[in-house]
């Protein structure tokens, strides 16, 4: 039987991120919007970085590039041993499956699937054998404290619970890089604190690199490092 990419008992080492003169724009020609204009960035393996900056500064765009949702236009970007410039299509999807766990502000759960099935969906995309999926999904739900909600659909869960399901889905494939775009943006303070505690615990347990985009000083305060993104560059 094919084994999971990384065995749970051997925590994944996080990956380091290096970017040089990284640019990205949406659209082309006259209508093109240059969003990132030369980002230089170094993130240590296993560290916890908060990415701050005004709305529209390009924080989500940077996360999109780190997460392999799109290929950067120019510059250099490496995550672990993966060089992401010029990587597209299936290769980029393979990178997302192997390296990245993504957590969204709006949770991003599939409404018609239960909590457990949402977590199992990530494994079915990674080709985890059917027999192993359920047990691993239940482990992931247990690690976010939601074992008792496994059969509930997202619409029957609170915002904080939904985000914890989303986190379970993000970590179930043991990714070395965890990205979160305003993970507490839609939550009240109490739920937000639980999510942040959970992310801290998971990072420590697994040793993964954690990049969190946030507006909130409270959230940023938990990071090892805080980076400011302004006008498409990382402020010194």
């Amino acid at each position: 039987m094919i084994q999971a990419p990384v065995a749970p008992e051997a925590p994944a080492r996080g990956v380091a991120v290096h970017a040089r003169a990284l640019t990205h724009s949406y659209g082309r020609g006259r209508h093109g919007v240059a969003v990132l204009r030369g980002v230089d960035l170094d993130i240590d393996a296993g560290s916890h970085v908060a990415l701050q900056g005004p709305s529209g500064a390009g924080k989500s765009t940077l996360l999109i590039l780190l997460g392999g949702l799109e290929a950067p236009r120019s510059g250099q970007l490496s995550v672990g041993e993966h060089d992401l410039l010029g990587v597209h299509g299936r290769a980029l999807a393979a990178y997302r499956r192997a390296v990245v766990g993504f957590v969204f502000q709006h949770f991003g759960l599939v409404e018609v699937l239960s909590a457990r099935e949402n977590v199992m969906l990530a494994m079915s995309l990674s080709g985890v054998p059917m027999a192993a999926r359920r047990q691993r999904a239940d482990q992931a739900l247990e690690s976010v404290g939601l074992s008792h909600r496994a059969t509930h659909r997202p619409s029957h869960l609170s915002g904080g619970e939904r985000q914890r399901v989303a986190i379970a889905r993000a970590i179930v494939n043991e990714p070395p890089l965890l990205l979160a775009d305003e993970p507490t943006g839609n939550l009240d303070d109490e739920a937000a604190v639980r999510i942040l505690d959970l992310l801290d615990v998971l990072r420590e347990e697994r040793g993964c690199t954690l990049v969190v985009v946030t507006h909130s000083a409270l959230v940023a305060a938990r990071a090892d490092r805080r980076l400011q993104l302004r006008d498409g560059v990382v402020a010194p």
Partner: protein
Amino acid sequence: MSWRDGIALAVRSVTRRPARTVLTILAVALGSGLLVALVAIAQVADTQVIGQLGKGGPTSAIAVLPAAATSAQLGTDSAQGGEVNPITLATVNAIQNAPGVSSIQTVLSQAVFVVPPPLGGSIPSFTGDDPDRRLPRPFADNLVGVDLKSSGQLPITVLAGRLPSAGSTSEVVVTAGYFDHLQLDIKHPETVLGVVIEIGAPQVVDAGGGVVRGRWTRAAITGVVAQNAAGGDLLGAQELASADRAWQLGGVDGNSIGIPLPSSPYASLIVIADSLNDVHQVRAEITTLGFANSAPEHLVASTQRYLHVVDIVLGAIGTIALVIAVLGIANALLAAVRERRREIGILKAIGARDGDILRWFLAEAFVVGGIGGILGTLFGLAAVTITAQVVDSYLVEQGLSNVSLGGVPLLTALIGVVGSLLLSLLAAAWPALRAARLPAREAVGAL
């Protein structure tokens, strides 16, 4: 994501908009139901019409007559015969050995007197005895003798009652000609069923002196038939006809008084070819042997051509209905792609390939098209069954044989399901491609 996972996800996804899904499935069911019904009806009608050309026997039957084939024989369906050419056992054996021949039925025809009731002492009541002509007249006709065990191989259609038991010498059936002789109404076949008649085979003892002896048998009429095996208004077991024939052959030729000895051992042969395609070859063989023969081969061929055109038209109408229905699937999927832009982005963000998204939407079309196709096929077959029952009761009322639905092959039933699936996948191709090409950044809900 495997196909299995894709279908599992699709089954869940279609429950998101239940009303839309139900309507789409219903449209596909109606379309495929119409297609199945039309194709099945065409199929049944084809076998029915072609079957009618066999006049109760197999369509691949060839009637061989005791006459010399003329040069025109092979060009036409009907028999083209000249002078008498007796059909003997040797003829039967020669035809039996020809390629493409499946079986041969021999048919006897024996001249007889027929005396309807009232039966009794002095027969027959010739003109003068009964000036009012109120009593049924005795008449002279032919008794056709066949092997009743193989009645399915013979051009015989039972219109009322039943055939005589195999080998029975005390039962006969009659044709419409019998009703004509007795001025009875064929619309009331029950008036003759069960009636016992007397059948007399002649034996000419002295042609010059007009001395004729009869071999008299009583037989009950068990049914009314239409038959093309040989000329004759009575039909019975071969045993009965051959005993009568032996009796007549025991006398002398009475040609001068209208009772000649039979000229051919067999009145006709019914040769069954292996298939419709073999009929022409077998007829050529029989013609070469020198016998006039008939088979509806050209009629069958041209009828099949017309039926084929009808099949194509009906199939096309059904297909168009199904195409319109599956356009509903394309429409529903386009709406779904619009609604799920972010969800598609999220799946991509957590690692889905374009192919996974494509599979998800194709699987959805597969589920909707499959359910619609199965429902439609059941609905179509039910419609055909009900139609056949209605047609059946009408045909029976009209004194015609009934429709058999055994002719609907599994293939026709599968057309609805397979056609729905294929067309649904085709209709889903464009929406699914659109979904697959959405960028992963939709997940972040930028802007």
